[in-house]
Each structure stands twice: as C-alpha cells, then as structure tokens.
C-alpha cells in the first residue's frame, strides 16, 4: 500500500483531532467543564427524586402511621381512603393498608394490598429502600404459605383462597429476586 499526499493530510488531521480530544478531556475536566451538571446528571436527578419522594411520603402518611402505632386501625383505614382519593395510584398507601389489614387479622385482603403495592412500585421489596416492607412481606409469606396451601387443599373450589395463594406465590417469587 502506497501512501500519497491525500493520505498524509487525512492522517495528520486525525492526529490533530485526537490530540485536541485528549486535551479537551484533560483540561475540560480540570476546569470543571466536564464536571457533573445537576440538570443533566441523571443519576443525581434520580437520587434526588427518590429522597424527595421518601420525605414527602413520610410527611403525608405520618398521621396514618401514628394511628397504626396507636392501634386505631379503623381510623387508619379511613384516613388511607381519604389519601387514596388524593393520590390515586400511589403504592405507599397500599403498603400501609396491607400492614393494617394484617394486624387486623384480614390476611387475604392484606395479601391483595401488598400485591397491588408491589406491582405499582417494586422498590418496596428492596432491602436497601428506606421505605422497604420486605421484612413484613417475608414474614407474611413464611407464615401464610403453609396455612393457605392447607386451606386450598381442604377447599379446592374456593376462589378467595385460590386468589390468596396466587398472591402468596407472587410475593414469594418477588422475594426470591431475579432480573426484572
């Protein structure tokens, strides 16, 4: 292969571009031009949104949590209904409702509510999430599974029991993890 003037010009241009690129990357990062811009830094934006969301939800649902602590479950459920009208589609209400229902002994309804919440926002199953309900769900699955398997065996035609078992299986699978 023979190099002519045309090749030399192109190769020289390439070298100049490469040097400029390296210099820009080096000096740009030193002068802060390549530093993270909060408007374009999406990881930062996500982290901030998550923090804001956590604080907001804690504030909004604080009265409900207080009622739960005082074991005033009926009032808590009424307050949750009110908040659900205000923030439809918000998973947090479903998670608290599930807990309240569980404490009230309504296991089937608690399962349904947990499943609705997790489907809306799977972060509640994550260990690292500050609002995580993983422990609560794991405990419910552990104690509920043998009970509902037995109940379903005894009443194979009962759709409510069948639904509860399906919900338990779903939560069991979510707890197991996987890539989704």
């Amino acid at each position: 292969m023979k190099f002519d003037r045309y090749d030399s010009i192109l190769l020289s241009s390439l070298v100049v571009i490469a040097i400029t690129l390296v210099a820009l990357l080096f000096f740009g990062s030193q002068q802060g031009e390549a530093s993270r811009n909060p408007e374009t830094d999406r990881t930062l934006a996500q982290a901030m949104a998550r923090e804001v969301r956590t604080t907001f939800l804690r504030q909004v649902y604080a009265p409900v949590e207080d009622l739960v602590k005082e074991q005033r479950y009926q009032q808590a459920l009424l307050k949750l209904q009110e908040l659900e009208r205000k923030y439809p589609g918000e998973a947090h209400g479903h998670m608290i409702k599930a807990r309240v229902l569980r404490y009230s002994g309504a296991t089937e309804e608690a399962l349904e509510s947990f499943v609705q919440g997790i489907r809306l926002n799977a972060d509640y199953i994550e260990k690292s999430n500050p609002l995580s309900e993983r422990k609560e769900i794991a405990a419910l699955v552990e104690e509920g599974l043998p009970v509902f398997i037995e109940k379903n065996r005894a009443n194979p035609d009962n759709p409510t029991l069948k639904r509860a078992l399906t919900n338990l299986r779903y939560l069991q699978s979510r707890l197991a993890g996987g890539c989704e």
Partner: protein, 354 residues
C-alpha cells in the same frame, strides 16, 4: 458421537466454563439465576445509556462488553477478523429487536433459560419447549428455501464499529459522565465486582469465538445430525455443568413456585421462546452468538446487536417485558406481532425454485 478431537474438547470446555461462570456470577453478585443473561444485560445497558427510564434496570454490564471485546481480540489474534456483511441489514436490525421482545416475555435469553432450568425452576420448561419448537420452525423455513442472503466482504472496515461501540461503553463505565445512569435500586444494583464480570466476559468471548458456541446452533445441529455434532455436546456440557454448579453452590431449588424472575404465563413463555428460536435460526445464531460474531467483524450480526440495544430500550420503555405477575398486555401483542413479522419475512425471503 463425534471424534474426540481438539475442537470437541474446546467446545465442551467453553460450554462448561459458561455453565460454571453463569452460576458463579449470580453467587458473586449478579441477580439470582441471571449470572449470565444477554437480554437482561442488553436491557440494563440500554437503560444505562438512557434508552429507557426504568430506574431498576440501568447498569452497563461489563460481561456484555467482555463478550464482544474478547471475541474481537481473539479474532484479531487468530487472524480471523474480517469485515463482512450487507445481508438484509434492516431485517437483521428488526430481528435483534424481536429477539429481545421474545426474551422479555420469557424473562431471559436462551442461556438464562438453561440457567433457570438447572437451578430447578420448572417454569422455564415452557421456554425450553418453545425454543426447541422455534428452532424446528426455523429449520423448516431454511429447508423451504428461506434465506436472508449471504454476507460479503466489506470495504471500509465496517466490522470495527460494534467493537468500537463496546469499547466506548467501557470508557463510559470508567468516566461515568452525567448522561450515563447507574441504578441505585432494583436488579441492576445486583452485580458481581467489575473486574470479575469483565474477566468472565472476556474469557467467554475468546472461547466462544474459537468454538462458535451457540445455544440455538446446538439445538439446530442436534435436529440435523444428532449427537454427532460438537455443538450438541457443548449444549449438554453446559446443562450438566450448570446443574452441578447450582447443586454444589446450594442454588438448586426444584419447584414451580417462588422462583426468582419467573411467571406462570406458560403460553407466553412458550411463544416468546418460539420467537427467539425461530429468529435465531434465520439469522444464524442466538443473542450470545450475535455478540460474538459482531466482535469478529460481522456487521450483519452488528446490526442485530444494534437492534437488540434498541429492543432493550423499547421493551423496558414501553413496559413490554414480563415480571413475576406475568406478561403485560402489550408484551403479548408485541410477541404476536413479532411472530407475524417472522412469518412474513419467511414468505418474502423465500427462494422459490421454478
């Protein structure tokens, strides 16, 4: 049984390494039963590059980078790197997209399907049957004269751009500019240490380049020449090694229920994998093989890889991918549309003899 020569040995070595690393990577930090999953990794990487906004699936998976760069290095070292391509580029791009749609319905690529199965996940059986049926359908199409056309040697080094893209991904992994996103929640947070992931990818990239290892290729050969094919033995080796690795590491849990990343929409798992098997045979390899071929300079496979990346963005961005609650409505529509596209392609690309 084929003659036990160097090639068969290296195929079995590749398959065994894939099986063991597939299990061990999950043990070292990757999501459960997802030590290696090309479709999951593609969806994660597409998310990291801002192609979708599912903040649970954004991470530049080093294994994926390793597959392509390992194959690239190996092809260069053994003087097998050749820029080639030019066969139905748009169809190949679309095929990449369809591969990820099919994998999304099942939750995993063919490699993950075997990893799930060997971890005792019986829900993956529907996917296995689907993949076998898809490969069979693809073979029938090939037998009927369907061919996307041969690739030719390309001028201008078209084959270097996909390895260059993955090299850029490696640079982005280190430099982490603001437009690259790394999830802080969800399955994308689960990952093995970077060095281990990249090394595993590079080793598998080199081995797969040397052996042409391919999951659907193994099934295809098993249909055509039975166990005389080294690839079929490779598939068997992959299955056995991952099964033993899962048992030895305590990750084997036989059952239908409570399996990680699985669902009970068996029909859609089946159809998703039919789509993957069928498309893979028509384009000459499973998603993993497409990455390896792209690393060797095959720009046709490069188009499939670009299609897979676009598919990764689409499947997550449009919520087409299945979750533990099953395959979403539009995911089902996408699978059926994909199957329709494959049927139409098979009709249009058929060489008819007079």
């Amino acid at each position: 049984m084929p003659r036990f020569d160097r090639h068969l040995f290296i195929v079995i070595l590749t398959a065994t390494t894939l099986g063991i690393l597939g299990v061990c990577l999950a043990l070292w930090g990757n999501p459960e039963n997802s030590g290696i999953c090309v479709s999951c990794f593609i969806e994660n990487s597409a998310g990291a590059l801002g192609m979708h906004n599912n903040n649970r699936m954004q991470y530049l998976r080093p294994e994926l980078i390793g597959f392509v760069l390992g194959a690239f290095g190996s092809a260069l070292a053994f003087r097998e790197f050749r820029s080639r391509g030019g066969s139905a580029p748009m169809m190949r791009f679309l095929s990449g997209l369809l591969l990820i749609i099919g994998c999304g319905a099942f939750i995993g690529c063919p490699i993950k399907m075997f990893l799930r199965l060997t971890a005792g996940d019986l829900t993956a059986l529907a996917g296995l049957v689907g993949l076998v049926a898809g490969v069979w359908a693809g073979l029938k199409c090939l037998g009927g004269g369907v061919e996307l056309g041969p690739g030719t040697c390309q001028r201008g080094g078209s084959g270097i751009w996909v390895p260059a893209l993955f090299m850029l991904m490696l640079v982005l992994y280190f430099t982490r500019p603001g437009f690259v996103i790394f999830s802080t929640t969800g399955s994308a947070v689960q990952h093995a240490p970077f060095v281990i992931s990249l090394a595993a990818g590079l080793v598998l990239g080199v081995l797969a380049q040397r052996t042409r290892f391919c999951i659907t290729g193994g099934l295809r050969d098993a249909f055509l020449i039975g166990l005389r094919s080294p690839l079929a033995w490779g598939l068997l080796g992959f299955f056995v090694s991952s099964l033993f690795a899962n048992i030895l590491t305590g990750q084997f849990r036989l059952g239908l229920y409570g399996q990680p990343g699985s669902h009970f929409d068996f029909t859609w798992s089946f159809l998703g994998m039919v789509l993957v098997g069928w498309v893979s045979v028509l384009i000459g390899g499973c998603p993993f093989r497409q990455l390896i071929k792209a690393g060797e300079g095959d720009s046709d496979a490069g188009m499939v890889v670009l299609g897979m990346l676009a598919g990764g963005g689409l499947v997550q961005g449009w919520s087409l991918a299945a979750t533990a609650s099953g395959v979403p409505f539009y995911g089902k529509i996408a699978v059926l549309t994909g199957l329709a596209i494959v049927v139409i392609t098979s009709l249009l690309f058929r060489e008819r003899t007079a």
